[in-house]
């Protein structure tokens, strides 16, 4: 128990403050400490690097046809994604142009030559904020997240 809480309880015992006042003061202390804790937790989450990309497809228990849904649970190590992206540098320029062209056709204006090792780290770092949560009409619950 910290000093402020002790003081409030002492003041209550001495009847210097009412029960309502004590309750209000204690809740103010709680909210301040809770805020501090959550901020430190968020800070540590930002610092810790994501290790896996998870994709899950599970039946939505509230849906009537959910029993017919396929279950998928995939865990891809981030190091594999990193290694895969690095492999793009080995793609011959002709094949790379074809890939870029195909991406452009799909409306994605992206040049694979622009991928640099430092971008990979930034990309993977940005993935830590990723969270996709979709519930389909078929009764599938699709989740994409990192852990």
């Amino acid at each position: 128990m910290n000093e402020s809480r002790k003081k409030i309880l002492e003041m209550l015992a001495e009847k210097k403050i009412s029960v309502d006042d004590a309750y209000r003061l204690l809740s103010v202390i709680d909210s301040t400490e809770g805020g501090r804790e959550s901020t430190s937790k968020e800070g540590s989450a930002v610092k810790s690097k994501p290790k896996y990309l998870r994709v899950t497809v599970l039946p939505d228990p509230e849906h009537e046809h959910s029993q017919n849904v396929d279950r998928v649970n995939v865990r891809v190590p981030m190091s594999l994604i990193r290694a895969g992206i690095k492999l793009t540098s080995l793609i011959p320029s002709e094949a790379r142009d074809k890939v870029n062209g195909a991406l452009r056709e799909k409306g994605i204006d992206f040049d694979m030559r622009n991928i640099k090792p430092e971008d990979i780290e930034e990309l993977i770092g940005a993935l830590s904020d990723l969270e996709v949560d979709v519930v389909s009409a078929k009764g599938e619950k699709v989740k994409v997240f990192v852990e």
Binding site: V72, R75, V76, P77, S79, G84, L90
Partner: protein, 92 residues
Amino acid sequence: MNRPPTWMFIKIQGEHRGFRLWLPLFLLLPLALVVLIILSPIILIGVIILWPSGMGERALFVLPAAFGVFCSLRGLRIDIQNRRQSVYISVV
């Protein structure tokens, strides 16, 4: 670079039949190394032939890159199930 994976577990379950397989990847690595040593003269000739076109350099980097991908497989888990069949692959 990560430590190479040691085992791969594959489980395929059909409606009537299924199988489980523990693949000792740590045994495959020395085998792959022997094959690589045997094939190295051919690989070297191929790299020299391809060098003027610029593909030789890439071909030379393919092996370490492929080994990097192999080492990164540790922790991969794929689990797909439906009512009749299921596939489970895990690399440890």
